[in-house]
Subunit: 580 residues, 2 copies
């Protein structure tokens, strides 16, 4: 117990300790005057950097989402020659995208220009608005294409060299190859998607309001279907319901009764990643609100007029719709699939990295956020090596003391060990060594390799995939930047756990995700939250918690001000219903 | 959560006044199943109105710009069965469009949903989002087409009957048939235009910032050309200059010196509709700011890479550009051209109405705003009728008393008479009758028709066309609605001037435009204003006048609040440079 407590202390100190101060510093620096910085920028860009750049390692960041941006915000840009490529010149606060779809928050309020963020780093970072379409890992080059118009006289493509590549391109929506989805459904991944949905909702209302069309046609136009009962789909359904109930019903009084919202989920329940109490509350609230939740329905085809789905009970049915939003999960981007083939990961579903976020089989390339997953090593694969490492006297058996000596390192390298102990409510590692009668082992007991294997046989069941959330991506970006900041120090004084297959220590502590909880806004000023320690909070007070957390997590004071004033505007004036 | 509920009650009570209760009711009803209120509304819509509607005259308003909206705002909707058709379900405060192009003001802050405006009229007005593509004046029908998608199963077209038709469709940009303009230039008439310009400006900067392109190519991308030196073009040039100087130069320090802005004007000067002092000030300020003003240049062709223009001195030259905005004036929409042919105005440039805004030759159709022009009757065309009218005793001569008796009516019917007297600094009509030696005529003098003609010979030179401004359109809409409100009373008690060709009086006073002045924002927090009485005001104080006038002229408290908060945001945080 003492161990695990102190480990977590250290971990969170390492991962999250100083973030507040650096944030404050950045804000203060930003608000203390543009003129000086601008002058310094110009000078730095034209004179200083290129000459120094030859000495500095080139860090190339691809993507400006949560992972890329938090990496850039934390990185000490003076130590590297940093270049950034993204098809969007802004960072978007994606958890508020569902709010943008109905005008609760304006699109511009949740975006921050990347250059604003980079300017706070001293102007030494270069940004190019372009899409990376190929990673050439052999020549350490990235091929890019500008997607802003064709007026470039053949200069639309270019390549960028790197010493370290940070891949943070995110993911694309996953259609599971369902026919017609790309052509007929909206997604909800980008700011533009949210804007399109907003226009589309208004268009459906205006269309249903036209004269000379049948009641059936009106109903069809006002049938909004959301496919996917995850947090995004549920939040969008709730926002849409509020928009209709609070604002549109007043403006379209004669057709408001024709509106229907359906939420289609292939599984048994919506919000399955949340606690069952939240799922139940959400399903009941949606039922009261008149949002139809269709569970166990799998969409097989989407045409321009109807959605075709199957259910064991009903067989295939088709449902006419006015607008459909597809939100069933994420898929891998083509550039990543291509890169995976290059590095021998062609048979995987998503790019795999080690616990230090390095792409497996590719030393200078890091991948973080939704485009990658950490391939946590299994204890049983390394069990012989672990045994050898612990068995300092090469006696062929381990004493309890020998185990204790390397225990901290093992637990750090294989976090599943701690998780397993926790799940079994065991206080320390020795509990694992209980003999078959359940008696505690004596300190003097010595284990051979078979006994050691047996003790650890089940820990790998606790290997967990991290969820594809903003929270994970942001923590990864922050972690990696701090590793880069102390790269030189750690080369000489490695701080990580003992190497299991090799000598010495790893340079850095492995990445460890700290879950701060997750919200599920359910509409009507009610939100459900699952907080650490399985603490569940549902209702109006949670909505206020949601407001304060989302306001505080904004990337700049500007967006914070804008988002809060958008919320206020909505309270005072309602949401806007103009078709723009 | 009792507290938060009562807080919302109070908050919304404070902000909404009486509409609160309906909102609350709707919200409560919606969250409790949506039954009761919906029932009441449906009854109102389906039951009451149609039965009354048969007695009421059908007024159909086409267009929701300045003219249409101010008509609707003033109209007593209980007296008519009012229907509104417009391809846009919102009213846009167009004078702020140049501010939207650079993000000084957000698009949504200058638009107000038409339904919000109509709701305040008691909900008896119907609105359809569709485009009117043909007016059938014989059958009193308007043919409409919904432009919102093709998902309408063949119901995209419909017709609407009318008793009175109010045409307020505005105008379209005038390209003077210059080749390549539609394909390559931006216009600045609609909110969407302003949004596109904004994205385009940012795209030009991102494109110019890409690696591996030549200095020349960067310069080309950063060359912004505005064609047309009228108020819109000048204001956009000023906004763009401020955007670059105040915001973008900080974010793109290494390319800011490559930016150039050119304003091309076919005439000798820019802002020719303003006083010469303003023109001079604007031209000098633009020169100081580095905005190149190219006067006497006529654009003859636009390709995707260059603009071709001619000048007597240089002949034809071509100038490469990154983005071009075409703002040279307005042209007539196809639906109006078609309608003009129907009513025998095929040879005119724009739809002509009489002084009561009725389309000439078409009793029940009114046209106002940019799509129409008032064809002011000439005194000399009616001179015999005027003489006959004034000559009450049929003596063949007019006494001064006889003239005085009808003078007020003549001056009202022919405002050019008053204007002429004013311009000649004459105090009253009798001054016109001075004899050839310049002596005043005696009261006893009698004029025959030839003398009368001679006296009025030059007054028609003062016939003036109204400018195509928001101010004129709004006043016309307001005027016409007030006529409609008193239509019944005025049928019995006509209030207008004496009919010249006919008996009795006209029902209404003719429309009279009152000019409240015009602003020309020139950037750098400086504005020029030409106020009534040829009062000129230029500088920072005028900018504040501009702020207060434009804030006060907003169509609703909502947009007023939004516009003012946008200005504040700009002061605090600058303009946003995200490519969305």
């Amino acid at each position: 117990m003492r161990f695990s407590a102190s480990f977590f202390d250290r971990a969170s100190q390492a991962f999250h300790g100083s973030s507040t101060w650096s944030k404050l510093l950045v804000v203060v620096a930003a608000s203390s005057g543009g003129g000086l910085v601008a002058y310094a920028d110009a000078k730095a860009d034209l004179g200083l950097v290129p000459s120094q750049a030859t000495e500095k390692k080139k860090v190339l960041v691809v993507g400006t989402g949560w992972a890329g941006t938090s990496f850039l915000k934390t990185l000490d840009a003076s130590m590297y020659n940093v270049q950034v490529i993204s098809p969007r010149n802004y960072f978007a606060f994606t958890p508020l995208l569902p709010s943008v779809t109905c005008g609760t928050v304006e699109p511009r309020s949740i975006v921050e220009p990347v250059r604003n963020i980079l300017r706070k780093k001293g102007g030494m970072i270069k940004f190019w608005e372009a899409e990376c379409y190929k990673i050439d890992q052999v020549n350490k080059k990235v091929h890019c294409r500008s997607d802003i118009g064709t007026n470039l006289d053949g200069h639309g493509e270019f390549t960028v060299d790197y010493d370290y590549l940070i891949i943070a391109v995110g993911a694309k929506p996953n259609t599971f190859n369902t026919p017609g989805v790309v052509e007929n459904c909206h997604f909800l991944k980008e700011v533009e998607d949210a804007q399109r949905i907003r226009r589309s909702v208004m268009t459906c209302f205006e269309r249903a309001n036209l004269p000379n069309i049948s009641e059936e046609e009106r109903k069809k136009n006002l049938h909004f279907i959301i496919i996917g009962g995850g947090p995004t789909g549920v939040e969008f359904a709730a926002e849409l319901h509020d928009f209709v109930a609070e604002d549109l019903s007043k403006l379209y009084p004669h057709i408001k009764n024709l509106v229907s919202i359906s939420l289609i989920e292939a599984g048994d329940h919506i919000l399955t990643m949340f606690d069952k109490r939240i799922t139940k509350f959400a399903e009941e609230k949606f039922q009261r609100d008149g949002i139809e939740v269709k569970t166990n329905f799998r969409v097989v085809k989407v045409s321009d007029k109807a959605i075709f789905m199957t259910n064991p009970a009903t067989g295939e049915i088709s449902v006419p719709y006015g607008m459909a939003v597809w939100s069933t999960g994420i898929g891998t981007r083509p550039v990543i699939l291509d890169f995976m083939k290059q590095v021998g990961q062609g048979n995987r579903r998503v790019l795999a990295t080690d616990e230090w976020l390095r792409v497996l089989g590719c030393d200078d390339v890091y991948a973080l956020g939704d485009c990658a997953t950490i391939s946590q090593r299994k204890v049983m694969e390394d069990i012989s090596a672990i045994f050898r490492l612990a068995d300092k006297d090469n006696s062929g058996t381990l004493t309890v003391k020998e185990i204790k000596d390397v225990l901290a390192d093992i637990c750090e390298r294989y976090p599943q060990v701690s998780l397993y102990l926790k799940s079994k409510q065991m206080k320390n590692f020795l509990d694992l060594l209980k003999d078959s009668e359940g008696n505690h082992v004596k300190e003097s007991k010595e284990l051979d390799i078979e006994e050691f294997k047996k003790a650890l046989a089940n820990v790998d069941s606790k290997v967990k995939m991290l969820p594809a959330t903003a929270q994970v991506a942001a923590q990864q970006g922050n972690y990696l930047a701090r590793c880069f900041n102390k790269m030189k120090i750690c080369e000489e004084h490695p701080e990580g756990p003992l190497r299991i297959r090799g000598t010495g220590r790893h340079r850095f502590h492995p990445f460890r995700y700290k879950h701060f909880g997750q919200f599920a806004p359910l509409g009507g000023e009610q939100t459900a939250a699952q907080l650490p320690g399985d603490w569940i909070s549902i209702g109006h007070s949670t909505q206020w918690l949601w407001y304060s957390v989302y306001a505080s997590k904004q990337v700049s004071w500007r967006t914070r001000f804008l988002v809060v004033s958008d919320w206020m505007k909505r309270f005072i004036f309602g949401r806007d219903s103009s078709c723009i």
